[in-house]
């Protein structure tokens, strides 16, 4: 059965008909072409499909699209919509906090969300804060450093989600 869905995605109003059992991840990727959000596990364990729903991170592979009526959703594409990188993105690049890049959008969003909640986390709190995401390439060292650098204001906070 199809349902009518109204939501805001990356600051744009989206009115779309979705299957009752469609996952938010598939609607974002297949219907809206926002392929920066990835599927890594399908069970909400790896965080590659992380998006921000009403200000909080969520695994879009286990969110029903139909439940998103009236919600505000931000994906990785939102961060550099104006052509300027979010400080977290720049820090990931500068710290070589990415290799294959498949987990990167999820980690960037989790890092931003963590600093939103706690602008001055300890290293242990950073490790905890990004533990909902799996990286198979880096061993996390460079990712932790990237978040630390944003925390330490090595980048000007001019980004979107961490205003």
């Amino acid at each position: 059965m199809k349902l009518q869905l109204n939501m805001t995605v990356n600051d744009e109003a989206v009115n779309i008909e979705v299957e009752q059992d469609a996952r938010l991840l598939d609607v974002l990727r297949d219907d809206l072409g926002l392929t920066g959000t990835k599927e890594g596990c399908g069970v909400g364990e790896c965080g590659a499909c992380t998006v921000i729903i009403d200000g909080k991170t969520a695994n879009s592979c286990i969110v029903l699209a139909a439940s998103m009526d009236g919600c505000d959703i931000k994906t990785i594409e939102y961060l550099s919509k104006d052509g300027k990188l979010n400080p977290m993105q720049q820090s990931f690049i500068d710290n070589s906090a990415l290799q294959c890049g498949f987990c990167t959008p999820g980690f960037v969003l989790s890092g931003i969300s963590l600093l939103d909640r706690n602008p001055n986390p300890t290293t242990e709190e950073i490790k905890e804060g990004i533990s909902g995401n799996i990286c198979r390439c880096t061993g996390y060292e460079q990712i932790i450093k990237a978040v630390e650098d944003v925390r330490d204001k090595k980048y000007v906070k001019d980004g979107a989600c961490n205003e």
Partner: protein, 745 residues
Amino acid sequence: MNNIIGSRTPIDDALAKATGEATYTADIKLANMCYGKLILSTIAFGKVKSINYTEALKIEGVIDVLTYKDFPNIKYNSALRFKDHGILKTETVISETVRFVGDRIGLVIAESLAIAEKALKLIEVEYEEYKPVFDEEEAATSSIQLHEGLNNKVGTISTGADAETVADLISKADFIIEDKIKIPMVNHVSLETYSVIGEYRSKKITVYASTQNSFAVRVLISDVFNMPLNKVRVIQPTLGGAFGGKLEVVTELVAAGAAMKVKRPVKIVLSRKESMIASRTRNGATIDVKSGVNKDGTIVATDFKILINTGAYVGSGMNVIGAMSHKLLKAYKYPLRYTGSPVVTNTPIAGAMRGYGSPQAFLGMNLHIDKIAMTLGVDPVELNMKHIVDKNEVDILAFGNPELKACVTRGKELFDWESKKKEISKFNKKNQDFIRGIGFGIGAHGAGVYPAHQDCVNLLLRLNEDGSFNYWSASHDMGNGSLTAQKMIMSEVLTTDVEDIEATQVNTETCPWNLGDYASRGVFVEGQGAYKLADAMKNLILETSVLKFKVHKEALSIKDKKVWLDDKPLGSFGDIAVYAQTTLQKELSVLVDHHSIAGRTSYGAHFAEVEINRENGAVKVLDYVAVHDSGTIINRYGIEGQLEGGIHMGIGYALSEKMTFDEKGNLLENNLKKYQIFKSNEMPEIKVDFIETGDNGGPFGAKSISECATVPSAQTIINAVANAIGEHTNTIPISKEEILNIINK
């Protein structure tokens, strides 16, 4: 020097990856594309009697259901590297006989993946079931035969000291120490699952695939579908991790055949579970190792025997056993005999995975030596140092300037091994709730595939009118940064910036021929090719400058992207390119080939401290030090990231990752909740360091890191746990239950 070599340079496509713009295979949508869902065997061994898909076809949006009748019944080996690679062929695109839970028996094609998934549930498969065999030891001698005309134990390779000498030395030693070590299969778990799109237009096949081996995929498509090679094109979009798991053909042939059948592009993206059971795994192994040891702490000889579980099809089996056969001999200098065999079983197909046999071999050997050290009551580092290779006592062509001893010495210092020993002893006497232990492990792995077979690359570079370059390299970067390293090497030679060189996507139609990306050849082989390529371009720029500026070549040099006469700039690279186009009426481009004259060896020594919770047996890794000999470092960011990632994988191998099966052959750890990968909050801080003596076979003296990174890791953790609890457990990964059993004895 341009100071690029040894700098910290982010991976070349970092911007696209940080913004989400990088396009992976699953992100591609072609016009008129449809979606395929594999029908996988639900039994471990048998024959398909019938597949009833009448109901499935009735669902709106279902296009077709294909079975073995729709695909050529041609046997191939998915591990093929090049045309006429003589390896055993046991696999077909779609099977009538199924040999593991997950074997491909068909494909549902529909307008969407959701429709294909719905249709799959309505398909009824009837099987004639046979009794399966899952364990490599059991299968080696079982009356159950997986493939007609083929022993389950496919073959045997022996290397090192001869059997009689080793047996004699062991029998005369003061003690004989024997171990049996079982290691389960594990999975690569590249975050991107196996993905492919097949397209068939105007009698030409294009396959977009998450592959590390485009040219071999092209040969296999041509062989199986009887297509001319110039009508087969393989393209590698951004690769979301591979670790060897995307080296072999998995779904490429299915997608190609399906596209030919329905005359529309067909996309197949495996789910995590499918990717775990129906792509490739790391071989499980059974190791029987026996050493003769004298009271003075000398290991006089070791007899090392290994059976690897290669899964339901032979695939890489013999190749892994062959690759493994040299590795221990590159690290240990006393009489050691290696005997290895691959065994087919009714489990998912094994293939290449980071280290290609070395992690299993060194894990077994390092555990064994650790037990010997425990038995003798000597320090395991000291015992190893007595038996590992010296820098100056080896054939330099095969070994490549081994600095293993220097790695051990530096690592021991950085880790503060001697002080830690004392601290731990104090801690364990005082603390009631936790026990600590320290462990040590070594490893070695190659740089390139030679001498297993030829190891060569062809590369093309063009100078543009503005002084920038385009680079055609069929080097499959999988996130490991091999392309970035190649660009850095060329930039150093050409005095350019890394961003001045743009690499094309791997495409078998536009890139010169290359082997796939395996055997840690991205820097040592392809990087050396890139060095030659840049040098040839430099020469071409200078020769063209001679014509343009009417000066002697010997007086010319290049610096800052310009040609100089002594200390005077004559013109930019762009000026030379424009001159070539307008006056000489040609483009400045060079094509070079490079082949490796020797396989070199990289080394590493790791140290770890662990803490065990006495109440629940949980292991926490507190501290970790790794020192590697990879020759000269090209990209410090690249090598650090690869090493830390390799250690992360090794820690999982020791403590959490495994693929085990129920009595029907179903994988128990079939999703990422059950198959546990270490998270950021479970990882210790890792200190890494390098011995950079260099080696003359690779670019600027570089060897390799990517595979070697993971080789010493698991045993370091396992030995640390054994150090803490006073004995080695018999299971890998180490289970909390077994730790508690030992503690509470």
